[in-house]
Symmetry: C2
Subunit: 601 residues, 2 copies
Amino acid sequence: MINHFCKTPLWEASRTLAAVAGGRQPAETVITGAQLVNVCTSEILPDTGVAISCGRIALVGDVTRCIGPETTVIDAEGQYIAPGFLDGHIHVESSMLTVGQYARAVIPHGTVGIYMDPHEIANVLGLEGVACMAEEAKGTPLKTMITTPSCVPAVPGFEDTGSFIGTEDVAAAMEWDSVVGLGEMMNFPGILSGDGHAHGIVGETLKAGKIPTGHYSLPETEAGLNAYAAAGLRCCHESTRAEDALAKMRLGMYAQLREGSAWHDLHEVAKAITEHRVDTRFACLISDDTHPHTLVEQGHLDHILRRALEEGIDPVTAIQMVTINTAQCFQMDHELGSIAPGKCADIVFLKDLAGMQVTRVLIDGEAVAENGRMTAEIPAYPYPDWARDTMHVGGAVTAETFAVSSQGRERAEVRVIEVIPARVGSYERRAVLEARDGRLSADTGRDILKAAVLERHRKTGTVGRGFVKGFGIRSGAMASTVAHDAHNLLVVGADDGDMALAANTLIGCGGGMTVVRGGRVLGVVPLPVAGLMNADKTAEEMSAAVAALEKAWEEIGCEMVSPFMTMALLSLACLPELRLTNRGLVDCRTFSFVPLLCEPQ
Amino acid sequence: MINHFCKTPLWEASRTLAAVAGGRQPAETVITGAQLVNVCTSEILPDTGVAISCGRIALVGDVTRCIGPETTVIDAEGQYIAPGFLDGHIHVESSMLTVGQYARAVIPHGTVGIYMDPHEIANVLGLEGVACMAEEAKGTPLKTMITTPSCVPAVPGFEDTGSFIGTEDVAAAMEWDSVVGLGEMMNFPGILSGDGHAHGIVGETLKAGKIPTGHYSLPETEAGLNAYAAAGLRCCHESTRAEDALAKMRLGMYAQLREGSAWHDLHEVAKAITEHRVDTRFACLISDDTHPHTLVEQGHLDHILRRALEEGIDPVTAIQMVTINTAQCFQMDHELGSIAPGKCADIVFLKDLAGMQVTRVLIDGEAVAENGRMTAEIPAYPYPDWARDTMHVGGAVTAETFAVSSQGRERAEVRVIEVIPARVGSYERRAVLEARDGRLSADTGRDILKAAVLERHRKTGTVGRGFVKGFGIRSGAMASTVAHDAHNLLVVGADDGDMALAANTLIGCGGGMTVVRGGRVLGVVPLPVAGLMNADKTAEEMSAAVAALEKAWEEIGCEMVSPFMTMALLSLACLPELRLTNRGLVDCRTFSFVPLLCEPQ
């Protein structure tokens, strides 16, 4: 892997670095008086200096001889310095921010690099959409390593997406400068069964000398996990039990321990480390999905480090898990992940290790954040019109769009998706609904709402309809274009008219999330970039907008925490038991379409 | 780094591996009932099985379901299995064997892969010679990863070699399939001073995404070592003190702890690990130079592992230092260095960990050695005639060739190189010699011998002449074409006539080492391939031949252990204090030629 993520290639900088280390040329910047968190040897070394030029580290040790009249001297005053934090698996889209805003939000928390799997935008806009994010990333100091989305669509044949990524597309994307690997291979059933497409995509990655990343969410750690690892999948963030993580490490896979906004795995999986005296080089900490309020209220990898400490992981070990281990996972440790000569000068200052409070961040030797605020400018990136024009719903949406026929019956038994708060699974339930005028409606008395998924990419006009329970709303409707993974227009409501209003609100603003009641819009979070992200609002602004939307949810009776996240999974047709796509109800245990109305007994 | 060192690329094997792991297709081979040395987690896992197909590991765990009627079942009977050993820095030429014979010698000791720096042959035959060794290696099971020699000649301007390797040559060699990096960059003064050629060669390696390996032999671990590391040199085997090794690990360099036939560094450098509680992932064990008698009497990496244990290193940690750490150093850990699904099935069986006794070796899933003996055939490789015809000495060699004029003086003070047994350094001494017939001769009474280096690559006829002490011989002469690094024809003796006989003996047999006395050849080790290696004799045969030669040395009065090794460094003009090349005496402290006769006071 040659470097594309540093200010200066090492081969252009090395003579300068040698001169700086040798005291023949002053450094551009030096750090003095730091306690070095040495992730190579897992030690804390007192009173250490770092000399920097060309965006790289020239010397670690006594920097006296490297200081000239023009040298910027940063006195660490005994603070700790650690390598910049790397997030080994992250979907930027989950933050509802584009890369520029995301970078602004995470860099002050010590994040200097992310391994980004942009599979949400890829479902809407394909690799062209990914290219936009890559282009935007270039304008930020955040090192944005792309893993090419592997599973677009997530469940072929069961939904309509805006794009399809085939083996050839993956092969072509491996040529991109910014692509370092393959995004999470969610199609583990395909890998296990020897599916040619799944293996082909991984194979193209291996042929390019890049890193295939994994997603293996079964609790089975023998035949299945071995088969998955044997295919070359190098890491996996789907461990929810300590034994899952331990099994992966033992099989030479990087166990990426996750602490996302919604998925709090660390409490359990940290035990793989704290309860076993194992070498931890194959353990990493990652976020996967982080929502704007988490970024604003808790932070990013600094927060996850604090969580790791709470779970009993040693601070230096924890820091290795977001630095050198991650860099070694991606075979980029010659550039990133340690404070060592020749490496990029990506350095985080920490007030203490117990609190992991980040006070300063250098990227490529430049101070980019101080005391929780960006000090570097990130220019606005103008997403092209086609990336902001993705609401292609076929035909007008009216109350009629949401009508469900009783098929001539007076009452009908229907399948109902029951969501489970803060869990990704769902249950298939049954309910008998009384028909009125030949139609079946929501029954808020029993917390049964209507749901619909309107294809929004190619104006096919296809609509999947169903019923859901578990949200608890009494009236009104909600809609969202964040509807995994096809990101069609998902609408849930108590009333067909309000459902139409919710849908049309999002069609009007280019996508996003909304709550309406009685013909009035109570809240809306516009996500005009691909219907997934907002390029114009900061994390703070988005957090406030989402908080307002959550208040609107409350207003119509929902007591769930972050209900929009649970709602967004209603359409994710690879998770059991029952899901709804634009093509209809999918039984995700048997991977087959099932009718909404059950056959009369 | 894509793989060239495995039987089947992973992308061709992955579907089969998934089928084997899943129990849908029987494995080709399984191992049952082993104690797994898990180098990923640093654990020993009891009663473990391994399923193998396509030369790769399909499953680690319970192999019951992977066994079919055709499956070869190897019952480990409770023995340990570890990943095949990798030697991260080795000059095959030092064994006096070509790669085929070397492979035969080391594989039964558990070595499955070597990172070979063929800089001896490169000095004689250039990259064409390296290509021969690479070609021979392909016929062996030994994974022979080449690091392209970086310093040919070792000391430009001070000696004449058979070849010159420039920046463009290095760039071209980086395209070779078998090249994984750059050989030890011995020109650390050039790196430290910012020399364009030295940095250029490293730069070409980095541009190719390959690994520059180091050689930094100064005791200075601040400015110099930082400058060296900052240039991208990723590892170094030249630590002789624990603090050297520790400093390198702290700077993110792989400290390759050496235990060669002649250089017994481990006793000191192991303390970097045993006396400091550091993460050991940046520590490796390597051999550098291994002579045939060591291979025969002691072994290879198994011997070095035993030595590591004697120095107090934990067995699993030591095994990591010849497996996963080495693979990670070369960013080849996705293929080599662990017993894990998808990796090459390179597996060593060990009777116990205390003795590191290797009982069986699999490479790419094939049993290649058992109980100390090769079971796989290695075909003979016919080195081309030009590689066996390298004695190009200008003009006839006679006693006159070795005459040293007293420059008209009756007595003259001369510079004398004093060798130090079992050390690589030498001292500059002075001695006054009486002239006879206008010439200066050896004075065995004071252990002063004559030495000469005859250029043998391009018939230039250049001869460097000098005096040496420390060998203690009373009569006769010795000659060698193993004379670092230019490998010219080095002759040392008490008598000019015997010196001529020694030289002509080697010219006659295509190079090697010989001892003569009184017009009679007492012993000769023919090394016809480049004057460095013998392709036809086994390690046992070469060991016996060298033993016979050592006996001849004894016979003429030398009590030194392996004197030919000490002699071979007489011409290595990059080590202090005084050396002799075909161009004359070199003061290696000031890097200048000095006259043999001192100016009269």
